[in-house]
């Protein structure tokens, strides 16, 4: 109590000696006089807050140049915040903890942002105007590297998820021939998406992002070069391993040719060779329809095409 009296006397003396009280002193006084008591109310009524001396067209970015807590004596706005008393209004800004707790953007008003950006614009570069669309970007720069940065407040600024690197590339942009492409797809397995033709490699086995990126590029290189190699055991590829249906040397071809040869034998036509039969148009149509059915699945058009080709092959006109 003694201390409080002395401090009060000092502050009142200080007030009378320096008529132009600075805002910091006023705030300190406000902070120290927030303790209940008549003397604090007397002091507060003597010292006007800084807001009353603020011009309407002042430079706000000098009042709040950086992020700072909400100071009710420095913000000339009649803000009320909090749960209202029954039948009343929310509490005023003086001594309002809710206003101090919430992060404020008083230092980031639009004029302040424009000032900052004007200073930062010198450090920015322009995007090359030749790459104005996604297709052009992909045509010139086909490889996409995706990395994630994490910003949060906590005991540590490190986040272990930040080392993950995702590499995406379209196989059509790589220099691959047919065999190499099929072998690459088999090597890579689930990482290739057939619909979008994109190979995705996600690496996180190294502790640093740069190491993961290097490892991803290394994987891509190894896959590429290995897929161009033809091993000795690849010649043992059976029909079950094939990715798409090939008509040549298949049972369908054998059956078709046998049937046609038998038909020709019964009609007693002179021996036609297999090559002639293969080159004839009915057999070509049949081949195309069977390949379409096997590779693309059964659709209306595929089935009708197959029906037409079989009718032509076996010379049946009667059925609709």
């Amino acid at each position: 109590m003694q201390l409080l009296f002395q401090r009060w006397r000092q502050q009142v003396a200080a007030y009378f000696s320096t008529p132009a009280a600075s805002s910091r002193e006023a705030q300190q006084r406000e902070v120290s006089t927030r303790r209940r008591g008549r003397m604090s109310q007397l002091i507060r009524s003597h010292i006007p807050p800084r807001t009353e001396r603020m011009a309407v067209d002042q430079d706000w970015s000098s009042v709040y140049p950086t992020a700072a807590a909400f100071k009710p004596a420095s913000v000339p706005l009649p803000i009320r915040m909090g749960y209202p008393v029954k039948g009343g209004v929310p509490p005023p800004k003086e001594g309002n903890l809710e206003l101090i707790k919430i992060p404020n953007f008083l230092h980031l008003t639009p004029p302040a942002i424009k000032k900052h950006c004007a200073a930062l614009r010198d450090f920015c570069t322009e995007w090359p105007s030749a790459l104005d669309g996604d297709e052009k970007c992909e045509q010139h720069f086909p490889v996409e590297i995706e990395t994630v940065d994490y910003v949060s407040a906590g005991t540590s600024i490190r986040n272990p998820k930040a080392r993950i690197v995702t590499l995406r590339v379209k196989l059509s942009n790589l220099n691959l021939d047919d065999h190499a492409k099929k072998k690459l797809i088999k090597l890579v397995g689930k990482r290739y998406c057939k619909d979008t033709d994109v190979l995705t490699i996600i690496t996180d086995r190294c502790p640093l992002r740069r190491q993961n990126y290097d490892y991803g590029i290394h994987l891509l290189t190894v896959l590429y070069h290995e897929s161009w190699k033809t091993e000795a055991w690849e010649s043992e590829k059976t029909e079950e391993d094939m990715e798409e249906y090939i008509w040549e040397n298949s049972s369908s071809q054998k059956n078709a040719l046998d049937t046609l040869l038998q038909i020709k034998a019964t009609e007693n036509v002179s021996n036609v060779t297999k090559e002639e039969l293969l080159a004839s148009e009915v057999v070509r149509n049949y081949r195309n329809s069977v390949i379409a059915l096997k590779n693309e699945g059964e659709t209306e058009s595929n089935m009708s095409q197959y029906k037409e080709s079989v009718k032509k092959l076996l010379n049946i006109q009667a059925l609709p």
């Binding site: 992020a67 919430i102 992060p103 953007f105 980031l108 639009p110 942002i113 424009k114 900052h116 950006c117 004007a118 930062l120 614009r121 010198d122 450090f123 920015c124 570069t125 322009e126 995007w127 090359p128 105007s129 030749a130 790459l131 996604d134 970007c137 992909e138 010139h140 720069f141 086909p142 490889v143 996409e144 590297i145 995706e146 990395t147 994630v148 940065d149 994490y150 910003v151 949060s152 407040a153 590339v169 942009n173 790589l174 220099n175 190499a180 590029i217 290394h218 891509l220 290189t221 190894v222 590429y224 070069h225 161009w228 190699k229």
Partner: protein, 197 residues
Amino acid sequence: MAARCLWRRLCQGSSFPVSYASRVMQKQCFLPNMDLVGGRFSGSHVHTEEPKTNPLVSISDEPEVLYRRLSLLVKGHDRAVLDSYEYFAVLAAKELGITVEKVHKPPKKIERLTLLKSVHIYKKHRVQYEMRTHYTCLELKHLTGSTAAVYLEYVERNLPEGVAMEVKKTKIEKIPEHIQEPVWDTLPQVEEAEVKS
């Protein structure tokens, strides 16, 4: 050097603005009439005079990194704070000349837990807490490395307290030189040679 030559070939015919450098900025693309002092040059269209040199700015020799997309996901407990931050980030992007592709707000996620109200027994009386996380996603398109570095630093320094951010960068690159051609054509006749790296 090869990267810079690639850049030159790419930029043939398109006009480029005057290059402002960054604090450690990468050199911009080149037109054939290069070799000016400091690597600065004037594009054929807009700027008629040399810009004033900013003494803080220095140009480096590395080629510019290109980001096709920059995705900022901001997470916080208060929707109003996120809205203000989104206004700030969008205005900053517009001022710096960055195209904002999309700003969308994924739905909030609420994590609830139920605890016993009392220290000892009274199992039937519990208290429930919840944590609400609101999201805002900002997607920016077509940034260079310097611009991205500047924008991200500005935006990350002004992240309010209690708000977290995830920045997803999609960088685009050319296919590395060692993947252009299969190496088996150029290797000598030795079969099963040393494993290609």
